[in-house]
Amino acid sequence: MNKTVLDLWVGLFVIAGIAALLFLALKVGSTSAVSTSNSYEIVARFDNIGGLKPRAPVKSAGVVVGRVADIRFDNETFEAAVTLRLDKRYAFPKDTSAAIMTSGLLGEQYIGLEAGGDSQTLKDQDRILITQSAVVLENLIGQFIYGKAQEGVPK
């Protein structure tokens, strides 16, 4: 085999391989959305986070503005402390509320942010005060049955 032909083929092979890697990296995958350098973290406390997982999206008006960075259990208040990593491009008022929502009927859970009206914005390590827990299906059914039972009580 001629040496230049061989070099040419190997060169083509390497270029094709790197092109495939680039295709996978750019077209198929996305880098973990928010990098640590251009993001800030805020904390939200929930009574019940349902099936929320780390890396779940944080959405506002349906647009992904960040990801769930960390979920811990606070042993003093018995609440879940969820750390949200938000993109620096987006600033939210101090009285923004956070709710745990489900995409679709049985889809993954995400955090929805509803902006408030305060003129000051949330800074790094701030806390969201108004939160709404995840809807637990069992509780919902329980409430429904309890309500039905109440209706049946003779007055």
């Binding site: 061989l6 083929w9 190997v10 077209k27 198929v28």
Partner: protein
């Protein structure tokens, strides 16, 4: 009778441990003598032609067909839940995380690994390796190390090509043939596949498989009895052992990479 079988067991154990030790020393020797493979990179490029470029056809065609089958099967299953748009996620994640590295590694073992073993085994049987030693040329540096690095470099590239080709196959069947919405196919795929968690881990897997397969293939060739029968046996052992090792390593790596994810 009993003594005989206990002796057999002992003999096999000693043989096995000896081979593992020899393989480990062989691996270290390859790493120590890798200088030549990089200083005279032409040697490595030559081997990359045989291990990488000549494996392209089987890798690309299998990737395309695996992707097309994933597209068809995935659509059938997802359709029952009314979430056909998730087809892109299914095809991309299964290829990038598992099928790409593993199937490419299995094909690589049977296409390139067996060729390496047969070549080195024959070189040894025809005493070419001894002749090199006589001429003060280190056969590990001159013959073995370039093949090792060629395999280690080629394997991740082949796995990436396999995955890319598979996703293209899934796109062909899912979007062009069945008619899943094109925008949803790509955007859902992009939002679900994470670069570090999925793609980088797939690349790490394929590098590890490349190291394992080429080391096994080179070792089996180097260790083969210098007879026609010995070389053929070593070639078979290369394919069987490296396939089993790839599957076992895949389980271990997957357990480490994706255990703490959720």
């Amino acid at each position: 009778m009993l003594k005989q079988s206990i002796e057999n067991l002992g003999n096999r154990t000693i043989q096995g441990v000896w081979r593992i030790g020899f393989a480990a020393r062989f691996f270290l020797a390859i790493l120590l003598h890798s200088g030549t493979a990089f200083r005279r990179f032409g040697l490595t490029i030559r081997e990359m032609y045989f291990t990488g470029v000549l494996s392209l056809i089987i890798i690309l065609v299998s990737g395309l067909f695996v992707g097309m089958v994933l597209g068809l099967q995935g659509y059938e299953t997802l359709q029952t839940y009314g979430s056909e748009e998730a087809l892109g996620i299914l095809v991309a994640l299964s290829l990038v995380r598992e099928l790409g590295p593993v199937v490419a590694a299995l094909l690589f073992a049977s296409r390139a690994g067996s060729a390496i073993t047969a070549e080195i085994g024959l070189m040894k049987a025809t005493e070419q390796l001894s002749a090199m030693e006589m001429m003060a040329v280190d056969p590990i540096a001159r013959v073995v190390a370039p093949r090792f690095w060629a395999g280690v470099i080629s394997m991740p590239l082949l796995a990436a090509l396999f995955s890319a080709m598979g996703i293209f196959g899934g796109y062909l069947v899912g979007v062009q043939l069945i008619g899943v919405d094109e925008g949803a196919f790509w955007s859902q795929m992009e939002s679900a596949v994470d670069f570090e968690q999925d793609i980088l881990n797939g690349v790490i897997k394929s590098v590890v498989f490349g190291i394992a397969i080429t080391t096994i293939a080179l070792f089996e060739g180097y260790d083969a009895p210098p007879t026609a029968e010995g070389v053929s046996g070593a070639t078979t052992r290369t394919v069987v052992t490296s396939s089993l090792v790839v599957l076992a390593l895949d389980f271990i790596l997957t357990a480490f990479m994706f255990r703490g994810l959720n």
